[in-house]
Structure formats: structure tokens, C-alpha cells
Symmetry: C2
Subunit: 454 residues, 2 copies
């Protein structure tokens, strides 16, 4: 028979629950082992100076949960299910040797400029005006208000050919691609070479067989694409990642003539500095292009809000798939983004950030030209990163590490390539204030000349 | 040569963009057909009284986008890509004959009680205190603050055996199940009969082969489960959906002894009225139970926030999978829920709602006992719905339709069954104020007696 010490906090009430908790923990920790007989309810009640009903309730609770067994003629005992073998917390995770990396990507925006007050005002607007049912289950393809605002925005800013019904709200470009590949079924998918190596596991997990197609100074090589036999291609026409190349008019025409399905990743197209953004491919061939974008570069990756524009019934099919996978994106932030778009807050924020990023880009490019003219700078018409071809003797990985340490988050391009290419790094300039560009570049020069001498 | 009418708003500025937009729309709408030669830039500039550079810029933009072609010696003409065949907006969706139904499920909470002010205060707390990097890409398995709070909450309220590392934040139980099945790979999955028919497409889409196992007054029939040969079972032990049965202690023990993987859907367990909640199965066998829950019943389905508690390295595997599928849930609301839990707001809200729902449930049960004693009421110890076995001659579908019309959202159980069973409906009482229960039940009685006479 167990001798039980059950500390009770009488001021707190819920005495039966307190007893049950204490017993449960004792069984879990192994202090009470399987088969141990518990005191009769009247004895424990007397020990603890509580009514017998309280102890009965506690025992019943643990019997219901399976920690105790009530055996006729033998009273109450600890169930074999309560043995210490199972009391262990889940084992410490045994992860991959390379822990995943979050945040501070070269393409991350400057989150110090996230419009916190105006975003809070949008959320407040939603929470003070949305009807009760707005908080219920809703269309997994996105709330109608946001789909309408996004369709208008994409027509206006990206020259997309789209109505509300063609837009699906998703949790960013990654989810958009997962869903598109999910509804396409197993597909041979052509992907640019080089490309973001982060997307490759996503594409393969979604069932795509990936073939790589080289990118040159006009963008993807459409003749090489045609030779692969792929029925679909994923590309970044407005600002190729990582090279920053803009797909040339001739290649746009060739690509449309090619005739396959184009998955257009429009990840940073709003952030174009030197001229109006080139309209998206989707506007040219809305029946064969699926356009994906998000607010990850324009506002913050943490919002996890984006869109897919898909032809014909595909938008609805994607929405239905989402209805079976996760029931859609959270609604309050969908309404908040709709309000932010409608009220002009989004456009104002973009204009402000475009000015700021242009300053930072210009400062970086000027500093590189002055202090590191041996570095070739490419792909700077848009976006938040520059593509730097490195001089002979520079090690990509070392250059990326040093630049990152100096406030210019960077990645070597080698892991993004299938075919070999000149050493290069992608460098994000969004977070480096203009006045710090020259010192950072000078320091990089010093460190890299140390590197090449060693 | 086209005669162009381009209305310009000079006050607005951006004349080149205005011209480009007008031309783009003319090409799309078919007013300018493929091959049409455009006026020379100097002629159009004179017509519009703008500088020639403005027209050059507009033409260049449309050449870059592929709407126009610049042909040496023949000036600028409309590209064959701009032909009306492709100008159509995405075709009207051609959906399934039965449009999907959102909201007003029998299990939806009363969203009129959603704690809007306190939730807004939590969001404000996050937006005024979170560090800049909190808005960046983050751990797709959930932000550490929320995982920690959820682990503490689940230990305290559900007697779960879990630490922070065992919790994955997901967008609700549906996504939790999708992810678990995704990482398990193709599986024969046993599912209760009856069960929510909404989940079946999800399970099949996630790759599971579904076999059904009958539920009786003690819950799932574990001997029948063992005979199926399934390696995993999905069940609702705390409050079976739809019958409301609580899995008996004997069956809990049998189930653990069975030895397969248990997917525990804990969809409404916090809303238990007559006694402390029965601890979750996961607390008994943390190495073989995967627990899923969400705030959909306790707060609002539209928040799309939930959790999965998984053994050993499975939690991490699910997080990594999510990192390749959608990069995780939005972070601001994750931090807000962590704050709401930590500050006690969540517990207070739950206590208040439990009191309110108990009142509504009691009023409904009393009214049914008085006015419709021929209906058998079951499964009312917890949750937001009652399971009503109907008297002979009542049609399930008609009863469900009438009850829904009277403010008691209801569904017939027949579509939830594989094996035939007595006619029954699931009725949600969360949205019907206590004082309206008796009138609603009396009206239902009148309508259904009309029905049985017809």
C-alpha cells in the first residue's frame, strides 16, 4: 500500500484535481510503480482531511485516463500502463547534421521598416468592423475581399490579366508552388540553372522531376528548355534568382511560343528601381502562366501571405485542394491586407521602401565600383540583392561569410548551380544603411585580400 | 497605321505609364490587333502634346513586356502575342455541382463571444515589443515562445506528456493530420465509423488507405480495429465525433495494448462541462500517440492555429516537412497566442465560454426532454454539439435542415457512416442563447410532426 504525500493548496480549490495531478505525476515519474495499491478512499480522505467524495473523484479521473485500475476485491492500483518506461518526454530531436537556417536571407527586406503602426491599424479595423461570421471557417481559396483587392493590384502594378476568381490566397510563394505542383500531379519540371537551392527539396517533395536549364544574359535558354521535353517550367522572369537577369523581350516571345505551362515566380517584382516594372508574363498568356507572389519582400516574410493567379478552373482546383489540406490561411490578416491595399497603405509603403532601397543599392554599387572594381556587379535593376562575379582567387564561400559578417547577408552561388560557372555571390543590400556601404566594402576588400594572400 | 486615342490625366503625372496602360488595354481588348503598325514616336508625341521621350518610354515598356515588336525598317507594331485569343480573363470556374460549404458547422463556436479586444491587445503587444527579426522567416515548426506555452498548457489542461521540442505549430487539426500522414508515408489508416465525412477526402489526398472501424457506447471497437491490420488509427477519444461517446477506461487500455500508432484528434476537449477533462491518450503513451488540437472551438476557426504533439524525432520531421511545403504559420498571431496563453487571457476566455455553453447545452437538453422526449440525446458531456437519435419516421436530412433553420446548425449522420445505423443528427448548440432553446425545440416539434404526417 502506498504512503502518499499529497500537498494541497486549500486556498486554490479544485482539491480533487490537485490530488489527481499529484498522483499522475507520481506515476509518471516512477515514484508509484505499476501494481502499487493505493490507500482506500476513506483512508486517504482522512489523511488529507478532505471529504471522501474528493478522493473518489480523483481516483475516478485517473481510472478514466488509464493511470489507475479499479479491481473488484483488490481496491485501486497503479495500472501497468503507468510504468516509467512510458513516462519519458519525447526523445531529444535527432536532426540532420546541418541545422536549418532561418531569417537573414540575402533577399530578406529591412524589417526595421515594417509598418507596425499601420499594420496594427489595419488589424484594429478588421477586429472592430468585421461581422461575426467573418471569423468562422471560410473559403480556403481566400476571403473574397482580399482576392478582389489582389486582382486589382496585380492588374494595376503587374499588368496581370486576372479577375477575383483567378486569384487564390496562399501562405507565400513556397505554398503556392507546392499547391500548383500538387494539382498538376507528377510532372517533369524545368528549373533555371542557377536557381535558389532552397526550392529544390520543395519541388521534389511536391512530386516534380526536376531538370535544369541554363540561364544566360537574356534569361532562360528557351531552345535548351524545349530540348528537355519538360511540360512545365518554373522561372523568375522579372529578376532572375540569383543572377538578377531580366528575361529579354525575344525570350519572352520564344517562351510563349514554346507552349508549355509557365510557373512565374514574381518574388520581388514590385521592387524595381530604374523604370516601371516589366509586366508579368501572365498578362501576356493568362491561359498558360501561373503567377505566384507574396508580401515577403514588400512587407515581411513572417506574414506568410501570398497569392497564386491560375488559369481557368485551376484557381478553383487549388482552393479545393487547400480545403482538404489545411482549410486556408488565417482570415484576420487576410482582411487586414485587403484593407491595407484598399486604403493605399500598401502602395505608400512600397513607394517609401523603393526609394530607401534604391539609395542603399546605389551606395553599394558606388562603393564596389570605387573600392572593388575587380568585382562585376549584375542584376541590380530590381529586388533586394546584387549578383557579384568574383575576381580570380576569391573563394565564394569565404566571400559570402565575410560579407554576411559585415552586414551584407550573402550566399555563394555554387550550390545553386548544376553546371559549373564563374565564382559569384548573391549579396543582400536591404538591411545595410547607405552610409555604411563604403566602410563595409572597404572592410570586405581588406579581408578578401588577406584571404587571397594566405 | 493606328489612329490612337490616348486620354491622359496630366495632373497625375507618370505620362509614359498612362500611355503604356492604354495601349496594353487596347491590345488586350482587341481594339489593336496583331500586326497593326503604331504611329512613329514623334507623331504620337505631337498628337498627345508630350515629349517624344515619353512615347519612346511607353513603347519600350510594351516591347519589353512582349505586347509590341520593334522591327527595323518597319517601326513598331502590335506583336502576334497580343492577339485577342489570349486577352480573355481566366474562364469562369467550372466547379463541382455541390458548392463547398463554409462556416456554421454544428461544431462552430459562438463567434459573437470572440474576445476581439483582448486579441487585439495581444497583437498590439506583439507589434510594439517584438524584435525586428521576429518578422523574418522563422522556424517552420512554430516560434519557440508559442511551442513553450502550448507545451505547458497541454501538460496542465490535457495531462499531456510533452516538452517544447515535441510541439509543432500548425494551421489547425486538418493541416496537422495532412502533415502527419505526409511524413508517415502511404499508410492503412483505421477511422471511426461514424466519423466526420469532411475528413475523408483529406485523409485520402494525404495518401492514406482508409478502413472503417465501428464505434459503440464505449468508443471505438479495438478488437475490430486489430482485425483490420491497420498500423495507425485516427480517433476522437475525448468526445467522439459525431456520437459524443467518451472512450472508456477499458478501451483506452486495450488501445494502448494494441500497439499501433494512434492519431488523437482532440478537437473540443477543453470544453468539458460536468467534470475535469479526461486526460489525453498522449499522456498515457507519448511514444505512440500523436495529439492534434486547435483554437478553432475555443476561439475561432478563422484563426487557423493549432498544434501537433508528436513522439521522438517526428515533431522535428513534421517541422522540416512544413519548411518545404509552406514555411510555417504566420508569426504575429503565433506570438499573440503565446502572449494570450501566458497572460491568462486564454484560460479566462475558456472558463467564461464553458459556463456559457453549459447553460446553452442545459437549456437545449431540458427543452428536448420536455417537448421531444421521443428524441434520445447523447454525447453531451463536452463540446459544442449533441448527438440526437431520432424517433421512427423522422427523416435525418429534413430534421437537420429544419433544426439549422431554427438556429441549431445540424447535419444528418448517414453520410458519416459506412455501416447503417439508427437515424440521427448532430446539432450544434453553441450559437443558440439559452432563452431561445425551448421555442426552437417547440418549433422543431411542430415542423417535424408536419413532416411525419405528410
Amino acid at each position: 500500500m502506498a504512503d502518499l504525500h499529497v500537498p494541497l493548496d486549500r486556498a486554490k480549490g479544485g482539491l480533487a484535481a490537485q490530488i489527481a495531478t499529484e498522483l499522475r505525476e507520481s506515476i509518471r515519474s516512477g515514484r508509484l510503480v505499476a501494481g502499487t495499491r493505493l490507500p482506500a478512499t476513506r483512508d486517504l480522505a482522512a489523511d488529507l482531511a478532505v471529504s471522501r467524495g474528493v478522493v473518489v473523484e480523483a481516483y475516478e479521473q485517473l481510472v478514466a485516463e488509464g493511470f489507475l485500475l479499479s479491481v473488484t476485491g483488490r481496491g485501486t492500483q497503479v495500472s501497468p500502463l503507468g510504468a516509467p518506461a512510458r513516462r519519458s518526454a519525447p526523445a531529444a530531436p535527432t536532426g540532420p547534421s546541418q541545422p536549418p537556417h532561418y531569417g537573414h536571407r540575402p533577399t530578406s527586406p529591412d524589417l526595421g521598416h515594417f509598418p507596425r503602426e499601420r499594420w496594427l491599424a489595419s488589424i484594429r479595423h478588421v477586429l472592430t468592423t468585421a461581422p461575426v461570421d467573418a471569423l468562422d471557417y471560410s473559403d480556403p481559396g481566400g476571403v473574397p475581399e482580399l482576392r478582389r483587392e489582389l486582382a486589382g493590384y496585380l492588374r494595376r502594378v503587374r499588368a496581370a490579366d486576372v479577375t477575383e476568381a483567378g486569384v487564390v490566397v496562399v501562405g507565400g510563394v513556397a505554398q503556392g508552388l507546392s499547391l500548383v505542383l500538387h494539382v498538376l500531379g507528377p510532372t517533369t519540371l524545368a528549373v533555371e540553372d542557377p536557381t535558389s537551392q532552397r526550392q529544390l527539396p520543395l519541388l521534389r517533395r511536391a512530386g516534380a522531376r526536376v531538370v535544369r536549364v541554363p540561364v544566360d544574359d537574356e534569361g532562360i535558354d528557351v531552345e535548351a528548355l524545349a530540348r528537355t521535353g519538360a511540360k512545365a517550367v518554373l522561372l523568375t522572369p522579372a529578376h532572375q534568382y540569383p543572377t538578377g537577369v531580366v528575361l529579354s523581350p525575344a525570350r519572352r516571345a520564344q517562351l510563349i511560343a514554346w507552349g508549355g505551362m509557365v510557373l512565374e515566380d514574381d518574388y520581388d517584382a514590385e521592387l524595381r528601381f530604374d523604370r516601371d516594372p516589366v509586366g508579368c508574363l501572365q498578362g501576356l498568356a493568362p491561359d498558360r502562366v501561373v503567377l505566384s507572389g507574396s508580401v515577403s519582400k514588400s512587407m515581411a516574410p513572417g506574414l506568410r501571405l501570398g497569392w497564386v493567379v491560375a488559369p481557368g478552373s485551376m484557381a478553383e482546383t487549388i482552393g479545393l485542394a487547400r480545403g482538404e489540406l489545411d482549410l486556408g490561411s488565417p482570415v484576420i490578416e487576410q482582411y487586414a491586407l485587403a484593407h491595407f491595399l484598399r486604403s493605399g497603405g500598401y502602395d505608400r509603403h512600397l513607394r517609401k521602401m523603393r526609394r530607401e532601397y534604391r539609395k542603399r543599392r546605389d551606395a553599394l554599387v558606388t562603393a564596389l565600383g570605387e573600392h572593388l572594381p575587380e568585382v562585376t556587379v549584375k542584376g541590380i535593376e530590381a529586388g533586394l540583392h546584387a549578383y557579384l562575379e568574383l575576381p580570380p582567387g576569391w573563394d565564394e564561400a569565404v566571400a559570402a561569410e565575410e560579407a554576411t559578417r559585415l552586414g551584407l547577408p550573402a550566399e555563394g552561388v555554387a550550390p545553386m548551380r548544376e553546371r559549373p560557372g564563374p565564382p559569384a555571390v548573391v549579396v543582400g543590400f536591404a538591411r545595410l544603411p547607405a552610409h555604411r556601404a563604403a566602410p563595409a566594402v572597404r572592410a570586405l576588400k581588406v579581408r578578401m585580400s588577406g584571404q587571397t594572400i594566405d
